[in-house]
């Protein structure tokens, strides 16, 4: 089993990572990829994600291990942007490949719910009237509860 977990400081093209990731797992039955982008149209001009280096990447790495342990995967890829982003730019990419589709689909759902609510990121948005810190969302915690054992 194989994991590739990265924090990226510059804009990225998910396909440039997902292509090689998929190629590295011959014999797979399915690959599931989710890409999250900065939404446009909500009056948000820019988004800034800050992180704390000693915790953030280690936490993502543990999340990848948890997904590998929980689902029958051949590999998992987790990419997350930090820094300044604009609408239309990818923030996050999670890809999982497996012998059978359900494991891949569920692993991506699992990883995304954890990244959205539990990962060490702090987010602020720039709107017409300036920067605003984003508070945790109740829905994100409800999403996380789906995976409680």
């Amino acid at each position: 089993m194989d994991k590739d977990v990265r924090l990226l400081t510059e804009p990225f093209a998910p396909g440039a990572f997902v292509g090689p990731f998929t190629d590295a797992h011959p014999g797979l039955g399915g690959v599931c990829t989710f890409v999250g982008e900065v939404r446009s149209g909500d009056g948000v001009e820019a988004l800034e994600l800050s992180h704390y280096a000693p915790l953030t990447l280690a936490g993502m790495d543990q999340l990848a291990d948890a997904a590998l342990e929980r689902f029958e995967l051949m590999g998992i890829l987790i990419l997350h942007r930090v820094g300044l982003m604009h609408p239309g730019e990818p923030i996050v990419c999670v890809s999982a490949c497996a012998r059978h589709r359900r494991a891949a689909i569920q692993a991506v759902d699992f990883a995304m719910d954890h990244l959205k609510s539990n990962a060490w990121f702090w987010k602020r948005e720039k709107r017409a009237d300036g920067w605003h810190w984003i508070e945790p969302r109740v829905e994100d915690h409800a999403d996380l509860a789906r995976w409680a054992e």
Binding site: G36, L49, S50, Y52, P54, L55, A58, H80, I91, V92, L115, K116, S117, N118, A119, W120, F121, W122, K123, R124, W133, I134, E135, P136, R137, D140
Partner: protein, 78 residues
Amino acid sequence: MKLVFLGKLADLAGASELELPAPLNWSGLLATLEPELGKAVRGDQVRIAVDGELLADKELLAAVDGTEIAFLPPVSGG
């Protein structure tokens, strides 16, 4: 020793990092902070990490020269 403020705590502190003379325990540290910042970091929602390890109880803080203390408000998610 170094203090690192994440998220909106950096705005409150006026900087993302602050150097302080060591050694300091939790009450000694609070005494050096501006009242509003001190109140914020005392809150249950703010966790602290000492040299990259989460501290279960802030009262147990024992910072020496070279220690890095991070103040972590609730995460907003990725």
